[in-house]
């Protein structure tokens, strides 16, 4: 089942009298249940606008967004979803505990004691139990991101959506957040998140949605996206103590080379598929080499 289905989403913003700019152009994609899906795109590609359209914070010009099969974004669906916007600001006068209690009261799915024990459980998970009674104004950026994630998972949602959760975090903060996302996903929660930090996306995601200038240029698995960009093979051989490296473009060529190695009794050291990492592949797609 798809936890999120975006169909033919279009969005134009008026820029003046009778002029408008189209920010999203026929955007369609799906987020599968229990999978971590990355949402990529350059600055201004329309990622945040898409997320805001999904959550009815911006009204699309046309198109449809469905959750959990066939449901609109109503109050029942909202109970099953968590959202963390980009650069979130939380009520700085609240303590971590009060903040989660406030959001938990809005979900209204638990009794008072159940909510308190769930809050403690979530605080433990995001490693903020020690800071629960400190005001959010005293939290570091990383702590704020983690309390933000805590807010999204508090109601045991089926889907969490994170907009640039890693932005502005130091390596340690990013590692902690990545681990947290992995844990959440391992519990069966579907995760859909946008990020510029492609190394993190590559290590976390199974599926990808790539947006370029308001249009979808790729949806599918990370693996097939990278394999589309395979640029051949590298064969390392050794002959009389000397190493030689050959770059080969096609499978047929590889067969030929391997046959020659066997025939000439050379030593085969390594055959490596030349596959770009996500960052390289994304740059290629962004600059129009591959579409």
């Amino acid at each position: 089942m798809n936890v999120l289905q975006v169909q033919s989403l279009n969005k134009s913003f008026s820029t003046g009298f009778r002029t408008s700019v189209q920010v999203l152009n026929n955007v369609s994609f799906e987020v599968k249940e229990g999978v971590v899906t990355g949402f990529l795109g350059a600055n201004g590609a329309g990622k945040t606008t898409t997320l805001k359209c999904i959550f009815d914070l911006i009204r699309p010009t046309s198109g449809e967004v469905l959750f959990f099969g066939n449901q609109a974004f109503d109050l029942n669906v909202r109970k099953k979803i968590g959202f963390l916007p980009e650069r979130p600001y939380f009520y700085e006068y609240l303590t971590g505990f009060e903040f989660l209690k406030f959001y938990g009261d809005l979900i209204d799915e638990m009794t008072k004691s159940e909510l308190v024990s769930r809050i403690m459980e979530v605080l433990e998970k995001v490693d903020l139990i020690e800071a629960k009674d400190r005001a959010l104004r005293d939290y570091s950026k990383g702590m704020l991101q983690r309390i933000g994630i805590a807010q999204t998972i508090l109601g045991r949602p089926k889907l969490i959506v994170l907009d640039e959760p890693m932005a502005g975090l130091d390596p340690d903060g990013r590692a902690k957040l990545s681990q947290l996302i992995r844990e959440v996903a391992s519990e069966g929660t579907s995760v859909f998140f946008s990020s510029h930090l492609l190394h993190d996306v590559e290590s976390l995601c199974k599926e990808l949605v790539i947006l370029k200038k308001g249009q979808i240029v790729y949806t599918g698995s990370l693996d097939s996206f990278l394999s589309r960009m395979d640029s051949g093979f590298e064969v390392v051989t050794e002959n009389d103590g000397r190493r030689a490296v050959q770059e080969i473009k096609t499978q047929a060529e590889l067969q030929e080379v391997l046959k020659t190695i066997v025939d000439k009794r050379q030593t085969l050291i390594e055959v490596k598929r030349l596959r770009p990492n996500l960052e390289e592949a994304f740059v290629r797609i962004s600059f129009g080499e591959e579409e």
């Binding site: 911006i58 009204r59 916007p85 650069r87 600001y89 939380f90 006068y93």
Partner: protein, 255 residues
Amino acid sequence: MKAAIVIAKNTFRELIRDRILYLILVFAVLLVFLSVVLGQLSYAEQMRITLDLGLAGVELSVLILSIFIGGTLVFRELEKRTVLTLLTRPLTRGQFLFGKFLGLFSIIFTGLICLGLVLLLVLCGIGWKYQYQFPLILLGFLYQGAVLISITMVFGNIVRPVLSIALTIGVFLIGRSMDSLLYFAEKSQSVVFEKFAWTVQYLFPNFERFNWKGFAGQESFLSIGDLFLSSFYFLIWITILQSAANLLFRRKEFV
């Protein structure tokens, strides 16, 4: 309704932890004590002057709280983008807006009770005899405050806070001059002026209907019928303004 109450509780907590609230309340308390000093300085009617100035101080603080805090109430959520996470929770935009209104209304109600008690203690301290009109005059202030918050919420959906506050003050001044306007229109010979005054009374709330300060120290008060009529008038305006604010907020896009 529960979601609106959760928002109201948080708004109440937000404002209680805000220094601005205390500054306004301290200012009001100072005005109350100043009224005693000014009363003592006068030749006659010392009690009357203290009572009038004290009530004016309480009213002024209610107006400041309603207009200035009301004017930034929703804007703060938009500017700091807390609204983005809140509106994705199981909560309608209407519930959010009504919760914000209820939160500030509760603050004004609480502030009014505190200031009313301070004024009452000060008045009793200088020998004033309690009158049943006193809490009803405060009720009038509460009505004014609630209508003003609702007006700022309507304007807050259209313009930025500074303009919203300025427009609300304008509406308040029109509303406070409504009785005079209607009186002069009736006395004038101009049909245009009459028509203008007639139109204005339906476009703007008449704040004179909640201004019962004149009854302070008097033996009489509004009849029960008039009190109910004013309360009904208050409810109608609250309904109209809250509906308008809700309608505008529902159409808003959070770009």
